[in-house]
């Protein structure tokens, strides 16, 4: 699938992913993107996201549980898993790990245009100074059999639906909002915690 797609990510989905990565700064984290594609398949709307894990990303069972639950939940609303998000353990590591690629491969089997997003720590840090209005993530798309980084001039692009999202993000970072985010790991440790994070942005 070499489709050139436009990916538009909603503010809440975006914030959840970044805040999740900030909560677990010392480990790799991941999450899935929830959304739908437009009728002609040229655009993908990422409406929500679910932060998944912050420890032992490479293990299958928790992932399977999470994916089944997420699909069940969003399937009813007509949404599905449309992509994968990963943040590396190390600050200056810009390489997509094998685990991420494998999970991405798996998702593309059901949703061919699925993107892989990798958190860009440098740009996240530079947010403080500049007025960057684009998401602080690198976009990877699957090209034939391998994952390719899409540059700023590539045909596929990732954009934020609300241009003010980064300002909101900075605000949340300074107010320590990331402490409250709950991922699937937390849910499995204590099922009374809700991975949907209702009430986080209120």
């Amino acid at each position: 699938m070499t489709g050139e797609s436009l990916y538009e990510i909603h503010q809440n989905a975006y914030l959840k992913l970044v805040l999740h990565a900030l909560k677990h700064r010392t480990s790799a984290v991941n999450g899935v993107l929830i959304g739908r594609s437009s009728a002609d398949g040229s655009a993908v709307e990422i409406i929500d996201s679910v932060p998944l894990f912050h420890s032992q990303i490479g293990l299958l069972p928790p992932l399977e549980i999470a994916l089944i639950m997420i699909e069940e939940y969003y399937g009813e609303k007509g949404l599905g898993i449309v992509g994968y998000f990963h943040a590396n353990e190390r600050y200056d590591d810009f390489e997509l790990p094998g685990v991420g690629k494998n999970i991405g491969d798996h998702i593309t089997r059901y949703f061919p245009q699925a993107p892989l997003l990798l958190l860009d720590n440098k740009r996240l840090e530079e947010l403080q100074k500049g007025k960057d209005r684009s998401p602080v993530m690198q976009l990877y798309t699957k090209d034939a059999s391998s994952w390719k980084l899409v540059g700023s001039k590539g045909s596929s692009q990732l954009t934020l639906k609300e241009p003010s999202a980064n300002t909101v993000l900075l605000d949340y970072i300074s107010s320590g909002k990331w402490r409250g985010i709950i991922d699937f790991d937390d849910h499995l440790d204590d099922i009374s915690k809700d991975w949907l994070n209702p009430g986080l942005f209120e």
């Binding site: 490479g58 293990l59 069972p61 928790p62 939940y73 590591d93 204590d190």
Partner: protein
Amino acid sequence: MVSKVEEEEVYRLENQVENGGGGAWEYLCLVRKFKLRRSDKVLKYGFSILNDPKKRSALGPEEWDLYEQVAVAAIDCQRLDLAKECVEVLQKKFPESKRVGRLESMLLEAKGLFAEAEKAYSTLLEDNQFDQVIHKRRVAIAKAQGNLSGAIEWLNKYLEIFMADHDAWRELAEIYVSLQMYKQAAHCYEELILSQPTMPLYHLAYADVLYTLGGLENLYAAKKYYAATVNLTGGKNVRAIFGICLCASAIGQLGKGRNKEAKESLELQSLSALALEKLYKQQSSPKILLLSSMLRSLKVSL
């Protein structure tokens, strides 16, 4: 491992200290004793003690322990200026000490001067090749540079001598998992189970790895280890119960036709499903519908 009571004690003291109730020194002692990572707090309260000459001298010889603790915390928080201050004080007091030398090398490491730090550690090791902390720092350097295979190599070298150090085995297991080398990870978890057979965590992790490896034989084994985890935790571990359901479902798919499923194992999976429903009903009622539809899709019928 920190027991529940001790953990509560730490939390209580932490709250007390945060609300200005005193007891900072006791808190720092506990953090050091249990090797907790509370660097920001250690830095804050430790430094305030060190800056107060009266409090500092009241500590007696433990003053130097505090300097070391604060230095490490400062390195962790990237407050290299403060770390340097502490290390310099220690250097003046113990000019020839290897322990201070270790701190200096850690400072180098924190600055990102990995090659220099590596060299410093090597010379320290020449003097005492049994300094486990330095061996582990070398692993950490390799990891910090993203050189996971290097980290594995160092860890293996370390484990060749200190082969009873289960923390090292655990680190090695986690690195293997992150590299998707599950067979090797399984070996490490076996080693961990051997060293602490009653730790449910290791049984669970081993089962997870076995499940990830796949294959009928591994799935059967994984299910057994999930069952062991359920036993050891008294059925409180949701991951393990989910694991049993997953295994049962996967075995059902793979082992089609071969109907050697014992009645007992059928009972186990339906009981697991029931247990999950009960736990969710008690603790997470909004998700109960989701759970039942999930169990249905796993074909673990009640």
